[in-house]
């Protein structure tokens, strides 16, 4: 008789595509092979987890088509099964995983699109917080602007790609113009992903603006963050970045 722990270990392996040698003798066939009964459970685990990945990565799924997506998702599920029952948290490594799938080497943007979708997912479920109001910021003595340290909104995520991933995301939304095309020559895109209120939004940033935001989110002083941005982009003017971040509610608190 299999002890419960041993039975569950073997069952877990079988549900993820492993062999059923230890487990099969413990299953009553009742007109079927034990293996056929176990295949119902392998199906449940595999198909339903692939569907979860499809819910989290709808743009990747559209880009590669359902059949291909399912085959990649199945391999991912087998290699990285969930460790938590909260499945909205499942699949965080899918973007990195796609970067190493030879069959999509021709789609070099795919991994970054997946990372954008993961950032969207994290932002959507992030803890709610009040955005910093412009009026609170307006009370700060301009002399001390350089020393400002911000806490960024908890839903803020930063995603950069060598490809126009926001355009790729846009043309794959429901209701997008079916004739819309994306030219990869549009080049790199750097995005802040934010859900200050209800909807997740993408904010496109310049090269310097992205670097400044990344430094701010790492807790750097505003002036140091600005200088980091300027090192990457000689003509970096922080006005646009600061305007868009403040207006979108990307800051949560500040101190000096």
């Amino acid at each position: 008789m299999l002890a419960l722990a041993e039975l569950q270990s073997s069952f877990g392996e079988a549900s993820l595509g492993g062999d059923t040698i230890t487990l099969a003798p413990a299953i009553i066939g009742d007109g079927l092979q034990a293996e056929q009964r176990l295949s119902i459970h392998r199906n449940n685990t595999t198909v339903l987890l692939c569907e979860v990945l499809g819910t989290t990565y709808p743009v990747v799924k559209k880009l590669v088509g359902e059949a291909f997506f399912d085959s990649v998702a199945r391999a991912y599920v087998r290699a990285h099964p969930p460790r938590s029952p909260c499945l909205f948290e499942y699949g965080g490594h899918f973007g990195d995983y796609l970067a190493n799938v030879p069959a999509v080497a021709e789609l070099p943007y795919l991994s970054d699109v997946a990372k954008l979708e993961w950032a969207w997912n994290e932002s959507f479920y992030a803890v709610d917080a009040e955005p910093l109001s412009a009026s609170a910021l307006a009370k700060i003595d301009p002399e001390t602007y350089g020393d400002l340290i911000f806490t960024l909104h908890p839903s803020l995520r930063l995603v950069a790609s060598a490809y126009p991933i926001k355009e790729i995301w846009d043309v794959n939304q429901c209701g997008a113009d079916p004739d819309a095309r994306v030219d990869l020559n549009e080049g790199a895109q750097r995005l802040a992903v934010l859900r200050a209120q209800t909807s997740v939004t993408f904010i496109e940033l310049s090269r310097g603006g992205f670097e400044m935001t990344a430094q701010l989110s790492a807790g750097k002083r505003l002036e140091d963050a600005f200088l980091s941005g300027q090192r990457l982009m000689a003509d970096f003017d922080p006005t646009a970045t600061l305007s868009v971040l403040i207006r979108a509610g990307a800051f949560h608190t500040f101190f000096i």
């Binding site: 569950q8 993820l16 079927l32 459970h41 339903l48 479920y125």
Partner: protein, 302 residues
């Protein structure tokens, strides 16, 4: 096995009076948030899967909170894996306790099954071997969950596709033993009884009749599908279609004995328009009205 003789009647705590109304409720789906909030349909209560709302923030929690102001809610867990030989996930318990405080549900329920092996969540509700070891493990986990929540929970009978050579008692006997060893109540899923009865060749009526009415805190009703493996039809509990006639007949049989009970219409795949769910709920309400009064059995159709 002496310690496994059913003693539920004597040891179980009776179900407290009406934590949910004795009416039909529906499973809450994101597609229907806005419509339910706008139209406030006359349904008894709503049920959600706890794990979908264990996030720290975001719109889904806001919707549920807004709807909770208008309807009683039942929290139905799918991920605690009470039947796992290993310890319960303490972080998961903590998240459930937080959600319980936030939502103040009528009931918190879980399944008579397991889904975690070696730390991997299989996203499947898998039947246990019905042995003394399983009973000890499962009952201890139910007690741990109830202690953490400081409330009685309901345990639901699963749909099953296989049985084990070393099981020593039937599923309803096992369930009643869990009740007597933990003080939990029963969430009786009529469709699951029907699906398992078909898959394993037992009598669904006899199963239902074994569960004392006073232990049943909630009932589930759902659709299932059929698949053919090697010439043999297996029923799969996929919650993706209307409740079938045989399951409605079993429900009538049950309600005649138990009187009205909070009854959930579960629909989780191929989710239809809200009206379809409300139609199924109205059907359950009508059966409870017709058959649920113990004195008026004769009024019941069929």
């Amino acid at each position: 096995m002496d310690q496994m003789a059913p003693t539920a009647q004597s040891l179980a705590s009776p179900i407290p009076s009406s934590p949910l109304p004795n009416r039909a409720g529906i499973g809450l789906k994101a597609q229907h948030y806005q419509e339910i909030l706008d139209t406030q349909p006359n349904i008894g209560w709503l049920e959600v899967h706890s794990e979908n709302y264990m996030c720290t923030g975001g719109p889904t929690l806001k919707w549920l909170t807004a709807l909770r102001e208008r309807y009683p809610v039942s929290l139905h867990g799918v991920g605690m894996s009470l039947g796992s030989a290993g310890p319960l996930d303490q972080a998961h318990i903590k998240r459930l306790v937080d959600l319980d405080r936030r939502i103040e549900p009528g009931w918190v329920s879980e399944h008579l099954s397991w889904s975690i092996a070696d730390g991997v969540y299989l996203n499947d509700l898998i039947a246990l071997p019905y042995t003394a070891e399983s009973l000890d493990v499962f009952s201890a986990h139910v007690r741990e969950m109830q202690d953490a929540l400081n409330r009685q929970v309901l345990i639901e009978n699963p749909s099953s596709y296989l049985r084990y050579e070393h099981s020593v008692i039937s599923e309803p006997e096992f369930l009643l033993n869990v009740v007597s060893q933990s003080g939990c109540g029963v969430l009786l899923d009529v469709n699951n009884v029907y699906v398992s009865a078909h898959n394993h060749g037992f009598d669904p009526v006899a199963y239902l009749d074994q569960i004392p009415a006073h232990l049943i805190g909630e009932i589930h009703m759902a659709g299932h599908s059929q698949t053919v493996i090697d010439g043999r039809t297996i029923r799969i509990d996929d919650h993706g279609s209307p409740i079938c006639g045989e399951v409605w007949a079993l429900y009538e049989h049950l309600i005649k004995r138990t009187g009205p009970k909070p009854t959930l219409i579960e629909w989780d795949t191929n989710i239809p328009a809200l009206d379809v769910l409300l139609g199924e709920a109205a059907k359950a309400d009508a059966i409870m009205t017709l058959c649920g009064q113990r004195e008026t059995h004769r009024a019941c159709i069929g």
